[in-house]
C-alpha cells in the first residue's frame, strides 16, 4: 500500500479540483456568454484532470477509497493544493467571500497557475510512473490552451483601458506573493523524486519566470517585487477561503452519502 508517489498525486489533483471549482463560480455569471462557456470549459478540463488523478490515487490507497471519497470526504487540512488556487475572485480587502467577482483576478490567477502547470505537466509527461505520465500528457494539451487564453486576456487587460490595466495590475499585486509557494520546499518533494521529477527545481522556476516576464512585458504590467506572505496550502495550512469552497462543493455528497448520479 505504501506508494511513494501518492502525496504528489493528491497535491496535483487538489490543485485541479479547487481551481476548477473556483472558476466554475463564473458559470452563468461571466461578463459575456462566450466567456461563460470558455470558463466552464476550463473548469471541466481541470475537474477531468483531478478525476484521473484521484482515480489513480484511490487505486493505490486501496480499501474502499474512491475518487468521490477523496474529493468529497476529506476536510480542508487534508487538502494539499496551493493556497493561490482557493482564493476568491477578488482582492484582499473585499468584505466577504460573496463579494462581487473580479474578472481580472480570475484571469491573472489562471495566467500565473497555468504557466506553472504547463511546466509541471511537461516534466511529468516524461516521468517514471507510466500512468501519471499518461495523465500529464493529456493535461499538457489542455493546459497549453489555458495558458494561451489567460495570457491573451492579461495582454488585453494590461494593454487595454486605464480601468482594465488598473484591475490587472491590482490583481497581480494581490496574487503574485502567493506564487512564492510554487518554489518552496514541497510537502511531497520525496514523492516527486520517487517518479524521477524535480518539480520545484531552479530550472522550472527559471522557465516560469521567462513565461511570466514575457507575458507581463507585452501586457505593459509591472511585476511586483518579490516578498510578502508565503502561504503553505501545500502543507495543509490553508486560508479561511478553502473551507467555504469545500463546504459548498461537498455538501451535496455529504448530505446524501450513498447517492448515485
Amino acid at each position: 500500500m505504501d506508494s511513494p508517489q501518492l502525496p504528489l498525486l493528491l497535491h496535483l489533483a487538489d490543485n485541479c479540483l479547487v481551481l476548477g471549482q473556483r472558476n466554475a463560480e463564473w458559470c452563468g455569471h461571466a461578463p459575456v456568454l462566450e466567456e461563460d462557456i470558455a470558463l466552464a470549459n476550463h473548469s471541466l478540463d481541470l475537474i477531468g484532470q483531478s478525476r484521473l488523478l484521484y482515480q489513480y490515487a484511490a487505486e493505490l490507497i486501496g480499501k474502499s477509497e474512491t475518487e468521490d471519497s477523496l474529493a468529497y470526504f476529506r476536510d480542508a487540512p487534508a487538502f494539499r493544493n496551493f493556497t493561490l488556487l482557493e482564493l476568491p475572485h477578488h482582492g484582499p480587502l473585499a468584505p466577504s467571500g460573496s463579494s462581487s467577482r473580479d474578472f481580472a483576478t480570475t484571469l491573472v490567477r489562471n495566467f500565473l497557475y497555468s504557466a506553472w502547470a504547463l511546466g509541471t505537466w511537461t516534466r511529468l509527461a516524461k516521468c517514471g510512473d507510466a500512468q501519471l505520465a499518461a495523465i500529464a500528457a493529456k493535461a499538457v494539451k489542455e493546459t497549453l490552451y489555458h495558458w494561451q487564453y489567460a495570457q491573451d486576456w492579461v495582454l488585453r487587460m494590461g494593454d487595454g483601458t486605464t480601468e482594465s490595466q488598473l484591475r490587472a495590475q491590482t490583481a497581480l499585486e494581490h496574487l503574485m506573493p502567493f506564487t512564492q509557494e510554487f518554489w518552496m520546499p514541497l510537502a511531497h518533494a520525496e514523492a516527486a523524486q520517487s517518479v524521477g521529477v524535480m518539480l520545484s527545481h531552479a530550472d522550472a522556476q527559471a522557465e516560469w519566470n521567462v513565461l511570466i516576464d514575457e507575458g507581463l512585458l507585452q501586457a505593459c504590467l509591472k511585476r511586483p517585487t518579490q516578498g510578502g506572505f508565503v502561504p503553505s496550502g501545500n502543507h495543509g495550512i490553508h486560508s479561511e477561503h478553502l473551507t467555504y469552497l469545500l463546504s459548498e462543493m461537498q455538501s451535496l455528497a455529504r448530505a446524501h452519502p450513498r447517492a448515485v448520479w
Partner: protein, 97 residues
Amino acid sequence: MSSTPHEWPLWEVFVRSKQGLEHRHCGSLHASDAKHAMQMARDVYTRRQEGVSLWVVASANIHASEPHDKAALFDPAGDKIYRHPSFYVIPDEVGHM
C-alpha cells in the same frame, strides 16, 4: 449579458468537421477581434468534437442578397427542371453519385 452600445462585433463561425470535408457555417458569436473570435469559436462551437479546423469571418465582411430580391433571383430557376441531372441513366457500375 444584455446588449450595450459597446458590444463586441459579430463574427460568423465555420467548422470543418473532418479532413476532406468543407468548412460549414455553424453560427455566430461576439468577440473583440479575430484572435479572440477564434478562441471563442473553439470554446463555443467545438466542445463536442465537432471539428478539426475553424474559420471566423467578421459578419460585417459578408455581403448578403437582399430578401426583397428573392423572387427575381431565385424564382426563375423554379421551372427549369432540365437543369437537374435526373434525365440520365446512370450505369450500375458507377454506384452512388
